[in-house]
């Protein structure tokens, strides 16, 4: 019984290798797992921040839907590419054009 109702996701699940016997039944996810499920590889365009132009208004931090923009101690920001999907909202809202979208290699 217990293996059908685990309190943790099996490690193999994060590598896309879990078998039907290992997965919790009914597709229940028994613990927070989003942080380990990297989604940044969906991206076609990548935001590049020019820190010298940034005025620390934090609009990109507010508008990022993911959120994949981290606010630092000094109100500068950094982009978390593990989860950024390249939607371009940050580049669009930036009042000083400090973020540029470039094609993902």
């Amino acid at each position: 019984m217990s293996e059908k109702f685990p309190v943790k996701m099996p490690e193999s699940a994060f590598k896309g290798k879990a078998t039907w016997k290992e997965l919790p039944i009914g597709a229940v996810i028994p613990e927070p797992t989003s942080i380990r499920y990297k989604t940044g590889n969906w991206r076609a365009l990548k935001p590049i921040l020019d820190k010298s132009k940034c005025i620390r208004c934090l609009l990109c931090w507010v508008y990022c839907p993911e959120p994949a923009i981290n606010r630092l101690e000094d109100d500068h920001v950094e982009i978390n590419y593990d989860f950024c999907k390249g939607c371009g909202i940050c580049a669009n809202v930036c009042p000083v054009k400090a973020i540029k979208m470039v094609r993902e290699e």
């Binding site: 078998t19 039907w20 997965l23 039944i25 009914g26 597709a27 229940v28 028994p30």
Partner: protein
Amino acid sequence: MSETVALKGKIVGMNGDEAVAFAVKQANVDVIAAYPITPQTIIVERISEYVNNGELDSAFIPVESEHSALSTVLGAALTGARVFTATASQGLALMHEILHIASSMRTPIVMAVVNRALSAPINIHCDHSDVMNARDTGWIQYFAENVQDAYDLTLQAFKVAEDLDVLLPVEVNLDGFILSHSVERLEILDDETVAKFIPPRKAVYTLDFNNPVAHGPLALTDYYMEFKRQQEEAMEAAKGKVDEVAREYEKISGRLFTKLNTFGLEDAEVAVVVMGSTTGTMRYIARKLRKEGKKVGVIGVRLFRPFPDKEILKAVENVKVLIVMDRAVSFGAVGGPLFMETAATLYGTDVTPLMMNVIYGLGGRDLTPRDAEMIFRRGLKILETGRVEEKKIWVGVRE
């Protein structure tokens, strides 16, 4: 009558719908959501009376449609509650997308389906087209032959559904009007006995703020197939669990549920496979024909999903002509759903009776004793000639 039978319960007169409602009351269901539809309405009416009178302590949620009824009990089941709903015909059709979600999310919902024809033309009477439309939705499907079955199976359904090796929703099918509205002799158990048989549900992943879980996530090409494989396994587990629960129920009731209710199979050369209340009609005629020395038999199928393939194979081992009776049509198919399932069960084995399919009783059309006898006589003719002239016949239709 000189024979005495040891009774384990009390005898009352109830119709099929009332019997189901009474079983639900005894099962101490936590949440009920339902939308009235003929011929199921009496079930939810009785339950609402039980709740209103304080006889049943449960949340009774009147909803605006069957789609909402099933969605509501699905959500409640995920919190760990014991739940029930009931429907028929168009109501079951409206529930269709949630039927799949209920079984995939492994919610142990118990639902009475009071079998009624699907529109159009609009019709309120019995056939099995509503439930056959829901055949592949991943639910366990019981079929009651009489009111006693409707009561017994509703109680057993909770125990099977909530079992942690199964965790699947269960439908208890009963023939509209023929069973739902006919008062029959019913033996009921006392509340304490039922309470011991179905103690409160023990759920694992529940609504617990200290241990939150996510239900209903996305699973694409990477994991969808694994979850379908789990469902198949649960159905396989249900085959054994149904029997185990039946044996346990026998101890408290004196009645043993078997997946097949067979008659005359010890020497039958011609047998019919049938579901629901018609089983009794066929048995009545078979008994008469056996007095004339005709070796005929009846196989009443009381569990359609998971399909009792091994039991069927064993039951028809020595049968030479097998007639499968469907109270639903699969348009454009080689036969009705029960026929196709039975034929597929036998294919590739060394059990090879000559087979014929009978389509009957659509929209509540009566299957008269004369029709029933004609069906057996067709079988006896096939036995004599060794030839099946027509693989599929419609009985009771004006040609």
